[in-house]
Each structure stands twice: as C-alpha cells, then as structure tokens.
C-alpha cells in the first residue's frame, strides 16, 4: 500500500492520535474542534469542485447542442443530448476519428508492452544488484529522461525520412518505448526490491532459468507494481504530441494530433470539440484513476512511497 492510502489501513496510530487530540471529549473545545473539522471538510469539497469545474464544464458542454453551448451567459439547464458524440463518430463531413484513435491505441499498447519486456529483466538485475556501481546505471537511465526531446527530434526525423519510416506508427512505438523505459526501470526496480530474495533463490536452486524466474516467481509477486508501471507508460504514450506531430502525417496520426487539427478542419464547434476532448481523454482518465495510489510513486520515479 502506498502512503496515500495508509491512514485507512493504519487505523491504530491514527485513532490514538485523534483521541488524544480530543482528551476533553465533551467540552466546548471538542465541539469547536469538531465544528472546525466539519468546516474544513466542507471547504475541501468546495475547493475540489471549483478546481475541477473547467473539466466538469467541458463534460457538460459536450452534452449540449451547439446552440446551447455557445451562449453568453452560459446555460446550465439546457437540455442534454448525446448528438455530439454520435456526430463525432459519425463524421459527417469531417475526418473519421477512428484511424487516429486506433493509432493511439496501437502506439500506446505496443510501446507499453515493449517497455515491460525490456524493463522487467533490467529492473530485476538492478534489484538484485549484480553490478557494483548499480546506482550509476540507475542514474544513467534517469538522465536520459532529462534530455529534452526536442534536442533529438531533428536527427530522428531525418533518419526516419531516409529509411521511409515517416508517417509510420511503428516509429512512434519505438520512440515511446525509449521515452518510457527509464521511468519503468526506476519504478519497477523499487517494486522488485520488495520481492523476497529467498523465493528467487529457491527457484534458482531448483534450476529455473531467468525467464522462468521472472514470469513464474517475480511477476506474480510484483504484479500490482508492474500494472501501475504499465498504466503510467500507457498514459504518457497516449498524451504525447510533439513526436507525433512532427513524425506522422495522415495515416499514422494519433488522437492528440487529430484533436489539434479538429478545430481548424471543423471550424469552431464548441460542443463537438468538448465531446472530442472527453473521448480522447477517457482512456487516460480511466488508467489514471485506476493507478491513483501508485501514480505519484511512479511519476516521482519511486522516490515517494
């Protein structure tokens, strides 16, 4: 369990401290503290709703007709409709959103898969520390993440152009794999370090080879961590714009590139733009909510547990 959810499970110390806080359980001070706590809880709700409001508004607008969406002052009570969603997929006039969505799914899923295949053995090796300077290797991985992507963009573009890989989704798969590999190695190293060494050794004594150890012994134990790693890699690949924008054109266009082109090709249809944004964000929202507890740990490369 990550620390985020720790208070739920670690009931004993938490309770001890709150009851100690209210030693005078029935006094006016306790009532004041209780009122204050309720007020702060309410405040948190208000702040949460206000902060999220633009996103909620986007969702609401996506359910309004164009005429109701673009009013000033805004209308909260306009009738709801799913027309924008069916129009988006029906694509009367505009380009179909399916090819870009399928491209995004391809790029994200395959790059995530490749990342796992490459990162799992590497993280395994790093967690059992075979090299004396294993932290240096870890930092090398991390340092590649600090290299701004724009600095390597042009050679990649020229290379892809020369071998005829421009506008090819597999080029993005390779690049997204390299983009997410360092994060995945860091995350998984911290998850695999928790796998008890004794069970790995037991398997090795029984004569298990590396891939057997990884698939049969390590992966099941570290499954939640590996799943979180996969979700985060998926999110990053799905979100990526710069590479996709420069290296793809028509056939390999991904969903974010499609979105940026959506406004200009359709003119400005506010409600439909909102529907499109919701659809493109949906996979990431789902993955993000699923990985919520491990999200920070992953994004901070395991530094925050």
């Amino acid at each position: 369990m990550s620390t985020l959810s720790a208070p739920k499970t670690a009931g004993a110390p938490g309770k001890a401290s709150t009851s100690a806080q209210h030693t005078d359980t029935y006094g006016p001070a306790a009532r004041r503290a209780k009122r204050r706590s309720t007020a702060l809880g309410l405040l948190a709700w208000v702040v949460g709703v206000v902060f999220c409001f633009p996103a909620l508004w986007m969702f609401l607008t996506s359910l309004h007709s164009e005429a109701d969406a673009a009013t000033n002052p805004p209308s909260l009570t306009a009738p709801l409709t799913f027309d924008n969603y069916s129009d988006f997929f029906g694509a009367d006039g505009g380009a179909s959103p399916w090819p870009p969505l399928i491209n995004s799914v391809t790029a994200s899923l395959f790059s995530t898969l490749f990342v796992l295949v490459l990162a799992l053995p590497a993280a395994y090796a790093l967690s059992i520390k075979p090299v004396r300077k294993w932290t240096d290797v870890m930092f090398f991985f991390l340092s590649t993440k600090m290299l701004p992507v724009v600095a390597g963009l042009l050679p990649v573009y020229l290379f892809a152009k020369n071998i005829g890989m421009l506008d090819n989704i597999w080029l993005l798969v390779i690049l997204y794999t390299s983009m997410n590999l360092p994060i995945a190695v860091w995350m998984m190293q911290s998850f695999l370090a928790d796998v008890p060494v004794s069970i790995i050794e037991a398997a090795q004594v029984d004569g298990a080879r590396l891939h057997t150890v990884l698939i049969r012994v390590v992966a099941p134990v570290a499954a939640p961590g590996i799943a979180a790693t996969a979700l985060i890699c998926f999110i990053f690949s799905w979100n990526e714009l710069l590479f996709a924008r420069v290296l793809t054109g028509v056939t390999a266009q991904t969903a974010p590139v499609f979105l940026t082109g959506f406004v200009t090709s359709q003119g400005l249809f506010l409600a439909q733009l909102c529907a499109a944004s919701v659809i493109v964000s949906l996979p990431v929202l789902a993955a993000g909510f699923a990985a919520q507890d491990k999200l920070v740990q992953g994004l901070s490369l395991g530094a925050v547990k």
């Binding site: 590497a122 600090m146 701004p148």
Partner: protein
C-alpha cells in the same frame, strides 16, 4: 510498498546481496555468473543508448553546419556560427527568457497551491477520496484536451466560461455591459501559465500529500503535548519534513514544464511572446527548415537542462540514499 511486504518480511538492512552470499564455485563459473546476472540489463541499456543518445550526437554534429533544407546544396561547415546566432538572435533570446519565466511561474504557483490543497486534504472528512479524485482530474486530462479546453471553452472572448460567468455574475446586480476581455491576446503568457498551473497543481498536491502522510506521528504528538500551536507545528515540523518532497516536486515539475510544447502550441501557437524553447526549436526546424540553427538551439537547451539535472540528481540522490544504503 507493494503487497509483497505483507507476504514476507523484507530482508534486514545490511544483509549482503545474494550473489555474494553464495560460496564462489571457481573463478570461471564466477565470471559466467556475473555475466548471467548482468545480461538482463543489456537489452534495455543498448536500446536506450541507441534511441536516445545517438540522435543527440547527431544533433551536435548537425549544429556545426549551415544547413537549410530548402536550400540543401548550400550546406556547409560553419563551426560555432549557429551558436553565435542562438545567443544573438533576438527571437531565440526571448524564447530562452520566456522558457525560464514560464517554468518558474508555473512551478512556484503550482507548488504553493498544491501545498494548500494537500494541507486541506490531510484530514479525515466525508468523501475525501472523491474530492481527491476531483482534484487530480485536471492532471489526467490529455494535455492537448486541457489546452483546447482553456483556449476555446474558458478564454473565448464571446462565449467562453470566464467572460460568460462574469456577465452572469454582474447581471445579478443589474449591470448590462460587463467588461469582456480577450484573455489570450490581452495576457497571452499568463493565459498559458494559468492552464499549466491548473494541470500541474494536482501533481504537486499528490506528492506533498504523500509527504504529509509520512510525517512521524509520535513527534507531532509530542510537539502538541508540549503546547506547540498549529503554526509552530507547521513551520518547525511539517515544513522541514516536507522539504524533500518540495524539492522533488520542483525538480520533476521543472523537467516537464521546461519541455512543455502542448500548451504553447495549442493556446497561442507561440505568438504574442509566448514561444518557449521547445516551440521555437520546433518552428526553426519544422517551418523555417533551418536544421543547423535548430540543432544548435537544441544543444543549448540540453546544456541548460544538464545544469539543472546535475543539481537535480544530487537532490534525487539524497532522496534515494536510504534505499541505496540497503545495498
């Protein structure tokens, strides 16, 4: 921590790694074993070097040429001329400044807001999980969607939510013609920054919340019994404890926001003085076709990032020292 912790107790600190705890079976098989344990690392390492390091070497090389792809025959070696241009070109200099301003503003604002939100969420109340979910939603929107949302749904001068909401609000008091600013052209950089702060605040909040919840309870309790008030506890216990988490947030935020492309590209298309370095490089290479110049600018970004990263790695090293000590 993963569930394995509950499955079996972790190895006690200071225990020697398994490879060494086994009796060596002769030098040859020992070396073979060392390779066998090192080998799983190689595919990832080789792949990463090939895909991330080689292009950068190529960028270094291209940066030494005067090379415009629209005029490929005129390609020639020009030494460090491109670097001279990077530092003398007013547009590029401006974009360096814009990048620094944008990054600093967004990081500082989102850390401060994130800290406030984290403090607010660091207590039990009804529906806490739901509020946390609401708060992280902006971070989970696809960056392009978020940028489009701000540009068209919020900032639009005619029917955007900001102006619409304002008109509705003043309408309550009978004001007929409320001022309706054109946010993006009136305050372009601020418009980009606001959208980025909105996106990054949840991330900072999550890191700082994790920090808050890892505070040693007994120490907090002792301080409370000693009569420390809320402010003293915050200033002398919570803040020092949060220091590493704040550093981590600033660090990761900087790395990602320095490289931001999506918001600048979508909201202003780099216009009105909002072009940051990634956008400028993109434009120099993709629209102006100045390959040499774009590469030199790219190298400058990398050098700048390395300066930050060197400092950063030191901070991260200290964050990981606990774990490294286990080796």
């Amino acid at each position: 921590m993963s569930t394995s912790v509950s499955a079996a107790p972790p190895a006690p600190p200071g225990q020697s790694p398994p490879a060494k705890s086994r009796p060596p079976a002769g030098p040859r098989s020992g070396r073979a074993r060392a390779w066998a344990t090192r080998a799983p690392l190689l595919p990832a390492l080789i792949f990463l070097i090939a895909v991330t390091q080689l292009p950068f070497v190529a960028t270094l090389f291209i940066s030494l040429f005067d090379w415009n792809s629209l005029n490929p025959d005129a390609r020639s070696f020009s030494g460090l001329d491109n670097y001279g241009s990077v530092f003398t070109d007013a547009d590029l200099r401006d974009s360096v400044f814009t990048t620094m301003l944008l990054t600093a503003t967004v990081v500082i604002a989102s850390v401060v807001l994130g800290l406030l939100l984290a403090l607010l969420l660091d207590r039990k109340f009804m529906g806490r999980g739901l509020v946390r979910t609401l708060l992280i939603t902006p971070f989970l929107l696809v960056p392009v969607s978020a940028a489009l949302l701000w540009k068209h749904v919020l900032y639009n001068p005619e029917y955007g939510l900001l102006n619409g909401g304002w008109a509705w609000f003043t309408g309550l008091f009978g004001v007929e013609n409320a001022s309706q600013p054109d946010w993006i052209s009136d305050m372009p950089l601020l418009a980009v920054e606001a959208s980025l702060v909105w996106q990054w605040t949840p991330f900072m909040m999550l890191i700082l919340l994790a920090g808050l919840q890892s505070r040693p309870l007994d120490m907090m309790e002792a301080a409370r019994l000693d009569g420390a008030n809320a402010w003293q506890m915050f200033a002398f216990l919570t803040l020092p404890h949060l220091r590493r988490y704040l550093e981590l947030g600033v660090l990761l935020g900087s790395i990602y926001i320095v490289q931001n492309f999506d918001a600048v590209f979508t909201i202003t298309a780099g216009g009105l003085g909002t072009a940051n370095l990634p956008y400028t490089i993109y434009q120099t290479f993709y629209q102006a076709h100045e390959y040499g110049l774009a590469s030199a600018a790219g190298v400058v970004v990398v050098i700048g990032t390395i300066v930050i990263a060197t400092f950063a790695l030191r901070v991260v090293s200290s964050l990981f020292s606990e774990e490294a000590g286990r080796a």
